[in-house]
C-alpha cells in the first residue's frame, strides 16, 4: 500500500476486531464513479429514447471502435447506424451499447477536462465528508474513541486524482488520500480507512 509509512502505521491488521470499512483510496474511486455515472443520458438504455441517444453519441469513429471492442460485429454496427430510430437490438447487445457509451463518455469527460473543472470548481474545490469506519462490532476497549464524521474542503488534488483514476493507479490514489487527510488533526491516520466518503459534486 502506498502513501507515507505513517499512514498505515496506526492500523495493524485491518478488520482484526471486526472494524468494517474500506481504504480511503477505494472510497475515493467509488465517489468518482458515482459522479461520472450521475451525469450523461438520463433515460435508461431499455427505453427508445435512451437507446437512440446512446447510438447518436456513439456515431463516430471512436464510438464505433468502442462498440467493436465490446464485441458487436461490424455488420451489426453498420445496420444500426443506417436506421438508428428503428432498430431493436437484443438485450445482450443493449448492454454492450450501454457499456460502450459509458466507456466513451468517461474518456471524453477526462479528455475534455470537464471532470477536472467540475471538481476544481474555479479553484474553490469541493466539500468532502469523511465517514469513519463502522465500529459497532468492535469491543469497547479496542475501539478508537475519537472517530467522528469529518467535513473538509478539498482543493488542488483533483487533477492528480483524476489522472490516477483514469489510469487505475491505486498507489497514487493512496498517496493522494494521505494528502487529503494529513491536515485533519494529529490522529489523522485513523481516517486511512473509512466507511464511506461523500463528495459534493
Amino acid at each position: 500500500m502506498a502513501g507515507s509509512p505513517d499512514l498505515w502505521s496506526r492500523w495493524g491488521e485491518f478488520g482484526k476486531f471486526n472494524t468494517r470499512g474500506m481504504k480511503g483510496g477505494e472510497a475515493l474511486i467509488l465517489e468518482l464513479n458515482r459522479i461520472v455515472y450521475s451525469s450523461g443520458i438520463a433515460s435508461p438504455v431499455t427505453s427508445r429514447r435512451g437507446l437512440a441517444a446512446r447510438l447518436r453519441y456513439l456515431d463516430s469513429a471512436a464510438g464505433r471502435a468502442a462498440l467493436r471492442e465490446q464485441g458487436v460485429s461490424a455488420r451489426t454496427i453498420r445496420a444500426w447506424m443506417r436506421t438508428p430510430g428503428k432498430i431493436t437490438p437484443t438485450p445482450a447487445n443493449r448492454e454492450r451499447i450501454d457499456s460502450a457509451y459509458w466507456h466513451r463518455r468517461r474518456e471524453n469527460l477526462i479528455r475534455s477536462g470537464w471532470l477536472k473543472r467540475h471538481l476544481d470548481n474555479d479553484g474553490r474545490g469541493r466539500r468532502m465528508e469523511i465517514y469513519p469506519v463502522d465500529q459497532s462490532q468492535v469491543p469497547a476497549e479496542r475501539a478508537r474513541p475519537t472517530l467522528q464524521q469529518r467535513s473538509i474542503t478539498v482543493r488542488y488534488i483533483w487533477s492528480d486524482l483524476i489522472d490516477a483514476w483514469a489510469t487505475q493507479d491505486a498507489d497514487t490514489i493512496d498517496e493522494i488520500w494521505d494528502d487529503v487527510i494529513s491536515d485533519l488533526d494529529s490522529d489523522y491516520n485513523a481516517y486511512a480507512h473509512v466507511s464511506s466518503i461523500g463528495i459534493g459534486a
Binding site: 438520463a42 433515460s43 435508461p44 465528508e129 459497532s136 466507511s195 461523500g198 459534493g200 459534486a201
Partner: protein
C-alpha cells in the same frame, strides 16, 4: 422573572407596537442589528447605558421601561400615566406632536402623592400613610379627562393570521391584558373596583401622576396595506430576509426593471440561492448535519429518472358515501380549498442529522428520525381518508418518519391501531434544522404578499419548491444529497394536509376529497374552521361546485 427578562419582553412589545424591525431599533440606538439580536436573544446583556438610549429612542421615562411590557406600552400610548412624570430624558421635547386632544393641563393639578390605593389614580390626600381619595366621588372624578378611547384607534395590531403561533406578547392585545397587569405591576393592597372609567380594560394600572402629554405613537415603517403588519420582530433572521430582498433588487436592477426577465433570472438562480441561504442559516446551528451521507440501498433510485421504494403517502381519496349519494341524486355543495405554500410549511419536520444507521428494536424513538419498514394497521373509517394515502397492496412497506409519526398519532387518538415496525434506518434528529431557513422564506413571502410584490413571491416559491425536490439525489443540486430529507419533507406536507382534513372532520364538516399535495374538498361552512387568505396557516378557496343533483 429578572429585570433583564422583563426588559427584553418590553423591548419586543415596543418594537411590535412601533412596527419596527431590529435593524430600525439598532439604528435608533446606535448599535448594529446583530448586537440587538444578541441582546434580545440572551447572548449579551442590556447595559444601563442601553436602557438610557432605549428610553430616549421611545421617549419613555426609564422607570416605565423597566416596569414591564404592559406598562411601557401603555405609557407609549399615553393610556397609562408614567411613573416618573416630567422625567423624560433631557433633550427630548416634552410635548412631541400629538395625535390626541391635548390632555388636561397637568400643571393645574396640585402635587400628587401617588396612586390612590382604591382606584389607582393620582391622589392628593393620604390616609394613614397610603395615598387615597377621600371619597368614592373623588375616585371617579380623578379619571384623567384626556383618556380618549384608544380601542377604536386601531392600536390593536391586526396580526395577519388568526392562528399565528408566535409567542403571545402583551402587545398583541395592544392594551394591558388583565393577568399581565396583575403580575407585573405592583398592585396596591385591597384595590376596590370603582366604576371603571371609559377604557378598554377594567383593570386600571396603579400608576403615578397625571399622564404626561401623550406620546405620538410611532408610525410603522412598512407602508403595507392597512390590516397587514409585520409579525413579531425576531421571528425570522433579519440577515436572511435582507439577503432575499437584496437579491431581488439586485436582479431587478440588472434587468433594468424588466419584470419578466428578472423573474426568469431569479428562478434560474433559485437553487444556488437557496443553498446559500441554507448554509447561512446553519452557521450558528447546534448540529452540523451531514450533507452527503452514504445512500442506503432503500433510498437508491432504481434509475436516474425513476423512484426509490419509499412510500410517501400522497393523498388521493374520495368520500365514497357522498359520491354514492350524489349518484342517487342528492345535491351537496362542495368547496375546494387550497393550502398555501404546503412544502414551505412542511420544512418543519423531524429530520435526521447524520447518516442513517440500522435499528432493529422495533420501537419508535421520538428523538430519532429516518425511514422505517412497517406493517400498517387496517383503516376502517369511511369518512376520513387513510393517513397512509391510497395504498392498494397489503403487507410491509417503507415509510418516512413523517408518515410514521402521523400513524402513531392516529393510534394515540384511537383512530386505528399502531403500525408494527420491523426495521428502521434512523439517526438522531431535530425539528429545527431547516427552521431558520423556513422562517426567513416565510417572512419574505409574507412581506411580499403584503406589499403585492409578486416577483418576490414567485422567487420564494421557486426557492422552496426546488429545494424540496432537489435535495435528493439530483444532478440539479450537487451541494446536498439527502434523499431521506426529501421524502420526509414531502410526506410531512401530505401529513399536514391529512391533519387539516381531520380538523375539518372534527369540526363537523364533510370531507369530500383530498388529493394532490394541498387540495382539500369539504362540504359545509369551512370558514368557521379555517382562516382565509394567502398566509401559511390560511387556506384559499379554489372553487365551489355542486356534487350530484340533476344533470
Amino acid at each position: 422573572m429578572g429585570v433583564e427578562e422583563i426588559l427584553r419582553l418590553t423591548i419586543a412589545a415596543l418594537m411590535a407596537q412601533a412596527g419596527e424591525r431590529q435593524s430600525d431599533l439598532a439604528a435608533g440606538l446606535g448599535l448594529s442589528q446583530a448586537q440587538v439580536s444578541r441582546k434580545q436573544g440572551g447572548g449579551a446583556h442590556w447595559s444601563l447605558e442601553d436602557v438610557d438610549r432605549l428610553a430616549a429612542h421611545y421617549r419613555l421615562p426609564v422607570l416605565d421601561l423597566l416596569a414591564g411590557p404592559t406598562h411601557a406600552v401603555g405609557v407609549l400610548h399615553g393610556a397609562t400615566p408614567p411613573l416618573q412624570p416630567g422625567a423624560l430624558v433631557p433633550g427630548i421635547p416634552a410635548v412631541p406632536p400629538v395625535r390626541l386632544p391635548a390632555p388636561a393641563a397637568p400643571a393645574a393639578m396640585p402635587p400628587t402623592l401617588g396612586p390612590c390605593v382604591l382606584c389607582g389614580q393620582p391622589a392628593v390626600e393620604d390616609v394613614d400613610g397610603f395615598p387615597q381619595h377621600l371619597s368614592a366621588e373623588e375616585c371617579a372624578a380623578a379619571v384623567p379627562a384626556d383618556r380618549s378611547p384608544l380601542a377604536p384607534e386601531g392600536e390593536v395590531l391586526p396580526l395577519v393570521g388568526a392562528g399565528e403561533s408566535l409567542p403571545l406578547l402583551a402587545s398583541d392585545a395592544a392594551l394591558p391584558l388583565v393577568p399581565e397587569g396583575e403580575t407585573l405591576a405592583p398592585m396596591p393592597p385591597a384595590v376596590q373596583r370603582q366604576e371603571p372609567p371609559a377604557r378598554p380594560t377594567s383593570d386600571p394600572e396603579p400608576v403615578g401622576a397625571a399622564p404626561v402629554a401623550a406620546v405620538k405613537p410611532t408610525v410603522p415603517a412598512a407602508p403595507g396595506p392597512a390590516g397587514l403588519r409585520r409579525s413579531t420582530p425576531g421571528y425570522a433572521s433579519g440577515t436572511l430576509v435582507e439577503q432575499i430582498s437584496g437579491r431581488v433588487h439586485e436582479v431587478l436592477a440588472a434587468c433594468s426593471g424588466d419584470m419578466e426577465a428578472a423573474q426568469a433570472e431569479l428562478i434560474k438562480r433559485a437553487i444556488p440561492d437557496v443553498m446559500t441561504l441554507l448554509k447561512a442559516s446553519r452557521v450558528a446551528g447546534r448540529y452540523e448535519h451531514s450533507e452527503f451521507p452514504p445512500t442506503q440501498e432503500i433510498l437508491r433510485k432504481k434509475s436516474q429518472k425513476g423512484a426509490d421504494e419509499i412510500w410517501e403517502g400522497r393523498p388521493k381519496w374520495r368520500n365514497s358515501e357522498i359520491f354514492a349519494a350524489a349518484k342517487r341524486g342528492e345535491e351537496t355543495e362542495v368547496t375546494a380549498l387550497d393550502m398555501n405554500a404546503a412544502y414551505l410549511s412542511a420544512m418543519k419536520a423531524w429530520l435526521p442529522i447524520g447518516q442513517l444507521r440500522e435499528d432493529t428494536s422495533g420501537i419508535h424513538d421520538p428523538r430519532k428520525a429516518g425511514v422505517h419498514l412497517i406493517t400498517p394497521a387496517a383503516w376502517d373509517h369511511t369518512t376520513l381518508p387513510n393517513p397512509l394515502g391510497n395504498r392498494m397492496e397489503p403487507g410491509e412497506l417503507w415509510v418516512s418518519e413523517s408518515t410514521l409519526r402521523l400513524l402513531l398519532d392516529c393510534a394515540r387518538q384511537g383512530l386505528a391501531d399502531a403500525p408494527v415496525i420491523h426495521r428502521s434506518l434512523v439517526s438522531g434528529a431535530s425539528e429545527a434544522l431547516l427552521e431558520k431557513l423556513r422562517r426567513a422564506l416565510a417572512e419574505a413571502r409574507k412581506t411580499a404578499l403584503a406589499e403585492n410584490d409578486e416577483l418576490t413571491v414567485a422567487y420564494v416559491k421557486a426557492m422552496y419548491s426546488k429545494f424540496v425536490s432537489t435535495i435528493g439525489e439530483s444532478s440539479a443540486n450537487r451541494e446536498i444529497r439527502r434523499p431521506d430529507w426529501m421524502h420526509i419533507i414531502r410526506a410531512k406536507a401530505f401529513a399536514n394536509l391529512w391533519m387539516k382534513a381531520h380538523k375539518a372532520h372534527k369540526a363537523g364538516l364533510h370531507v369530500v376529497e383530498i388529493s394532490g399535495t394541498d387540495e382539500l374538498h369539504v362540504a359545509g361552512d369551512w370558514r368557521t374552521v379555517f382562516p382565509e387568505g394567502r398566509d401559511l396557516n390560511q387556506v384559499k378557496e379554489k372553487n365551489t361546485y355542486i356534487l350530484g343533483g340533476k344533470r
